[in-house]
Every structure is written in C-alpha cells, then in structure tokens.
C-alpha cells in the first residue's frame, strides 16, 4: 500500500491484548467465532492460540491409535465375549487415503471371524470402531453400551467386536461373518474443531458386504456436549427395536433420530462427515 502511515492512536501504543469488537455481546448468539478483534489485518494472538488448540485436538484425534487393551478392559465388566479385528487398511495413512480398504476385512480377519460363527447368529451385534476419531470410542463406548444393554432385554446379543482402521461399512462384513441379524456400529466421527470426540451410531438391518448408506439409521454427535450418552442409548434402543420389528433400517425408518434434527452435525453426518 502506498499511503503514508496514519498517526498512531493513543491506545495502540501499549502492546496490550487487542480488545474485542464493540459487538462482542453477540457472541452468545452463535457458536461461530465472531467479534474476535484484530491485530492489524490478522487475528489477535489469543485467537490464533485458541484456534490452534482446537485444531491440535482434532488432529490428535484423527491420528490417535485406539488403545484396544484399555477399551477391552473397560468393556470386560459387561460380561460379553470380546473379539478384536482389523480392516484391510494396515496403516493410518493407508486408511485415510483408501476408504475402500477401511470398509473391507482382510482375508485373515474374515476367516478368523467365520471360525467363530455359530449356527444361530445373534439378533444384535455391537461393533466398536475407531473411525476418524479413536478418542470418541475410547471415551464413550463402554458407558454407551452399558446404558444400552439393559434396554435390549430378550434379544440375543453377540460378542463385542473391537475393529481398528475401520469405516462404517466394515461392520457389514463383520456381521455377515458372524451371522448377525442387525449390527450397531459405534464409530468415531470426523473431528470438528470443537468436537474431537464425537461418536456416531449406525444401525443396519440384515447387514452384508455391499450394503449402502441409505439402509442405515444414523445417530450422530454422541458426546457429553452433544447428544448425551443416556439419550443416545435410548435412541439407539428405540431405532433398533423398530428395525427388528419391521425388518428394515434406513431412510424409511428415520423417525427415532428426529429428536436430533436440531443438532449441529446430524445432517452433515449423513453426508459429509461419515467416517
């Protein structure tokens, strides 16, 4: 810019924290980052750091490995057998670049699961998957399942399956191998800047390899600040009983998740954020 510098305003002489904008009170109207103030054309230091922290947490969540041993210990008291499996994506980098590998069991994993199958498969199989945020199942899966199980009286529940480098559709192949009627995939969602630990629940009736997303019921943004654990367990139970009763899941059975329609990521989770 060619113009001469302006006289310095008196309050600019002190290198204090730049003030917020005069409309700062509007911040309570939206979670958006408004009225941030500025340092010249740029953000004040406090805002650069606040954004940096949020992004760091989201990045760490994407790259954190699921601590399978710790999760298995947390699930142990529920009294169900625990199985571990993995997708065909061998590394996190491969997982991120090749969603098709994350949806598929390796041949070894599939054989191992089929060896465990019994002649009468379970009504409901619960798959706990890392997805795009291992932090989410690590923090919330055991609490969610322990709130859910009492609401599944009378149903035959399969073993708890912990799956790593997993996309939602991996649960279809797992459920098919074990002969389950219905599968619930509890999976870490793509972390947002303020939600690194959001868990999604995808319910699929008659799951098999090749099932598409229209055939699923999705309950999204499960975390203490979003859809609370107790509410999520009730929603999952209601959706699951409804799906078993009418023998289908998916778009036609979206009603139980309506309660979430006002929530931030429900719509997005159905399209863009799905792990």
């Amino acid at each position: 810019m060619s113009e001469l510098p302006k006289p310095v305003a008196s309050d600019a002489l002190a290198p204090a924290d730049p003030p917020n904008d005069p409309w700062t009170e509007l911040r309570s109207l939206t979670p958006a980052r408004i009225a941030l103030g500025r340092s010249g054309a740029s953000l004040p230091t406090r805002e650069v750091l606040a954004f940096g922290i949020a992004h760091a947490q989201a990045r760490d969540a994407v790259h954190a490995a699921l601590d399978v041993d710790a999760l298995a210990s947390a699930l142990q008291p529920l009294g169900l057998p625990i199985i571990r499996t993995q997708s065909a994506a061998e590394t996190r980098s491969a997982y991120l670049a090749r969603p098709d590998w994350g949806r598929r069991l390796s041949q070894d994993a599939r054989s191992a699961l089929e060896a465990l199958a019994r002649s009468d498969g379970p009504d409901v199989l619960l798959v706990i998957a890392d997805g795009l945020s291992a932090v989410a199942p690590q923090r919330h899966a055991s609490a969610l399942i322990s709130a859910l199980l009492p609401q599944l009286d009378g149903l035959r529940i399969g073993p708890l399956v912990i799956a790593t480098q997993a996309r939602v559709a991996l649960a279809d192949g797992i459920a098919e191998s074990l002969g389950a009627k219905l599968v619930v995939c509890l999976i870490g969602e793509r972390p947002g800047l303020s939600s690194p630990d959001s868990l999604g629940a995808y319910i699929t009736y008659a799951p098999k390899v090749g099932t598409t997303d229209e055939a699923r019921i999705c309950i999204s943004n499960i975390r203490p600040e979003g859809c609370a654990i107790g509410d999520a367990a009730a929603l999952i139970a209601a959706s699951l009983h409804a799906a078993l009763a009418v023998r289908r899941s998916g778009v036609a059975l979206r009603e139980p998740s309506k309660a979430l329609d006002g929530d931030a990521s429900t719509a997005a989770a159905l399209s863009d954020q799905k792990p």
């Binding site: 409309w23 941030l36 054309a41 863009d272």
Partner: protein, 468 residues
C-alpha cells in the same frame, strides 16, 4: 487410437486419450483410488511428453465420454466456437502452453478465444504447467460479472460472506453476517448453507437477508444454498431470491446424483431472471464444483478427477454465472491427500475456469483428516491472490460451525487486501466508505474510534434481545 512416448530405454503406450490425460496428471490420491494414476513418476513424464505433442484438434475428434450418452459432452461439442478456435487450431498442447505464457496471449486475446477452448483442452494444458505458469497465465484473464456489485475487475477482490449456523438460527446467522460486514466482507454475496431443507425455514433466511440488504442499501446479493428445486419453488411462492445456487459436475451421471440436469438449471435461471432484481448486471447463477465429486458418485467414466472438474466448467459457462467456485479441500484426503495436492488443485481449477471464461473463486479449505493446516491455507490464498482470484470465502474465524471444515476468514480477506493492495468491488467499496468502515484507500477503520458504530441499530436490536 493409442499414444506413446519413449523415455530413456522404456517405451510407454497409452491406450486412450482418457488414459493419457489421467497419467499425465500430477499425483493425487483420488486418481490412485480410481486406479487411473500413472504407475511411476517416469510413466507420468512419458504421458506428459506424449500429451505435449498432441494437436489441440485431437480433443475435437475424440470425445472422452460418448456424445450419445452424456449431455455434458453434447453441450461441449454443440457450443464449441470454431471461429474463436481458429487462432489456436494449429497448436499442440505443448505449443498451447507456450502461447498462453507469451505476450501474444494478452488479456483481450485470451477473452476472445475462451469460447473456442474446450474443457479437455484446458485440463490437458494445465497438466503441462507448473504452479507458477498457472498463476502467470490466470493473472492475465479478467472475467467480470455483475448483479448489484461488479466482481472480477483487475486489482479487486470480493468476499462471499458465509454466516452459517448449525441450526439455521436467524439471530445467530444475523450476528455472523453483521460481524462480516463490519470486517468489510460480503461484496461477492451473502450466502448461507442451510442445515435444514424445509421450505418455511429457507424462506425465513431469504426474507431476513432481503430485509437487511434493503434496510442498509447494501450493494450485494443474497443466496441460500439449498437444492435448486427448492429455489425454484421459493421463486414461485414469491421469495426474494437474488442468486440461484447449485453444485454441478462434469458428467451427466454426476449431475444426476445431484438431482439436476441442464434443463432444470435453465428453468431456474429463467425463473430468477424474471424477478429482475439485479441493478448493475444480470449474472445470477452461483455454481460450486470440486475435484473428486465424480468418482465419489461413481460417475467418472475412467477420467481423472481434474479433467472431470474442467468439464464441470462447461456446464457453468452455459449459464453466465455471477460466481463459480471450486470447494477445493472439502472433499477429504482420499481425493486430495495433503496441502501439496490441495494447493495444486486450487491453482488448476482457478486457471482452467478462467481460461474457459468463468468468474472463478476458490473456497480455500481443508478438513481435519487432511494433511493440511492454516499455514497451508495462507499459502494457497496468497498464490490465488497473485493469480487474480475473483473472490474467496469469508467465514467467522475460518471455522464453519455448520459444515465442519475450515475455510478462509474475514481476517484472511483483510490480509490478502493488505498484502496485494486489492480493493473491494467498486459499489461495495463506496458503501463501506459511506459507512466510514474503510478509508479512501480501502483500509478497514478501527470501529471503536468511530463516533457512531455503523449498522448499530441492527446490532443493538440483536443485543437488546439478549438483555431482556
């Protein structure tokens, strides 16, 4: 028809024009996912060598997707301007690159040949160009459009104010809109991505923006980025619709997955034109595109994602849009893995769109599972500014709380203006000066030092609601 090139002791053969283009493309994860990428760095260079020797006329003889089965191909072939192409007719793809970078290709000449260039020619030449070439060539291309503000004039930059809210809360959206206006953003448009698809909620958003624009006589245009059928319905019901938005793609199959075709876009354009709401121009379509969308809809016909993207621009230019932008980093790492790929794709898309005569903006953005961060977006924003991008997004704090991704902020717009001396759209510049939000040089004023806060009635009304 096969193509071949020899590098050292190896001879490489490419079975089709589609394969040649795909293997000449810079490495990106989406082409690997599609199985069309070059198998080695040397094969990629062999493809580029073969492509460089190919006459441009080859693209007129060989449609990548059959004319009979794809309406985008029919659009490209049927609207090709042979007279405008005469200047380029004798060139190879490599010669076309040399010509684009030469002084012979002036701004006026480039504007005159645009209708003679097909998307495939644009995609092909971009594959031979370095990032620097993509910037230098695009910088000469000025595509100017207008509705209530004039966008794309040299030395100017516009911002789309994107005040999204997770539940479309009217007051939350208005708060973010006022925040953006106070930062001098909004000259490209005020465009809301709604969370809901319910007609009544959408109508509330159109009415709210219309009232704000009218109250303060803001020389800008509103847009509610719902599906185009929702916008047509709204126009029929009397909603104050300025711009019509739609995501579009480069194949008939992808457009079908978006629930659209060319006839539907034409219907929408005519409906909006009938409202006669423009003041300084009648460009009223707003399109968004992005590499990788065709593959994700399994409608890519074996083409590489950048060629598919360029074909989307043929769809755009049939409707004289006010704004086109490529949402370059939104799609995720399975298509553009990291910042290197996102930056390259952003420059390619901007160049190809401009070459075809489109008013290109770029949503400089990334998701949290891509290998990218704010530093990378700073780099892409700066190189696009140097390339003369028509507009970029303005999202509060770069954090879109509805769509869950990071774009550019109001502050980023200020930074680019300061770095490169870029002014606002002229009508918007005058308006900001009248409100004393910017000075005669276009610099944002310190709002705390003004005697009366601009837009204070609207801010106070929102604030009063809070106190009650």
């Amino acid at each position: 028809m096969t193509y071949h090139a020899t590098v050292g002791i190896r001879r490489y053969v490419f079975a089709s024009l589609a394969e040649l283009l795909a293997k000449a493309s810079p490495m990106r994860s989406g082409d690997a996912l599609a199985g069309v990428a070059a198998a080695s760095a040397e094969e990629r260079m062999a493809a580029r060598c073969a492509l460089a020797d190919l006459p441009l006329t080859a693209f007129l003889d060989d449609a990548l997707i059959a004319y009979e089965t794809d309406e985008v191909t029919r659009l490209i072939v049927d609207t090709h301007d042979a007279t405008a192409f005469a200047t380029l007719r004798s060139l190879t793809v490599g010669g076309f690159r040399d010509w684009l970078l030469s002084d012979a290709a002036s701004s006026a000449v480039l504007a005159a040949v645009a209708t003679g260039i097909t998307p495939e020619m644009a995609a092909a030449v971009s594959k031979l160009m370095r990032n620097q070439d993509l910037i230098l060539a695009a910088k000469k291309m000025h595509v100017v459009t207008a509705f209530r503000s004039t966008i794309g004039l040299p030395g100017r930059l516009a911002i789309r104010l994107q005040p999204n809210h997770p539940t479309d809360d009217a007051r939350g959206i208005l708060a973010a809109t006022l925040d953006g206006l106070m930062y001098g953003a909004g000259d490209a448009c005020i465009g809301i991505n709604p969370a809901s698809d319910e007609p009544a909620k959408l109508r509330m958003l159109w009415d709210m923006l219309d009232a704000l624009i009218a109250r303060y006589e803001i020389p800008t245009q509103s847009c509610v980025l719902a599906h185009v059928t929702r916008q047509i319905e709204a126009i029929e019901l009397g909603a104050p619709v300025d711009l019509v938005f739609q995501s579009v793609g480069g194949t008939e199959g992808l457009n079908k997955s978006f629930g659209i075709n060319l006839a539907l876009l034409r219907e929408a354009q005519e409906a909006a034109l009938s409202l006669k709401r423009g003041t300084v121009g009648n460009n009223l379509m707003y399109f968004e595109t992005g590499q990788g969308a065709a593959l994700s809809a399994n409608a890519h016909h074996g083409l590489d994602q950048q060629t598919c993207e360029a074909r989307a621009y043929a769809v755009c230019r049939a409707f004289q849009p006010l704004l086109v932008n490529t949402v370059v980093g939104f799609i995720g790492p399975e298509y553009l893995f990291d910042a290197k790929q996102i930056i390259r794709a952003g420059l390619e898309d901007h160049f190809c769109g401009k070459l075809l005569g489109l008013p290109m903006g770029v949503d400089v953005c990334y998701t949290n599972h891509a290998e990218a961060d704010q530093d990378d977006m700073d780099t892409l924003l700066t190189v696009l500014g140097a390339a003369g991008v028509n507009y970029v997004m303005g999202v509060p704090g770069a954090d879109d709380v509805m769509l869950g991704y990071q774009s550019t902020s109001f502050h980023d717009g200020l930074a680019l203006r300061e770095m490169l001396g870029l002014k606002h759209a002229p009508e918007f510049e005058s308006w900001l000066q009248r409100l004393q939000l910017i000075d005669a040089q276009g610099r944002l004023q310190d709002t705390r030092s003004l005697q009366a806060l601009p837009l204070h009635e609207a801010i106070n009304q929102l604030g009063d609601g809070l106190k009650r």
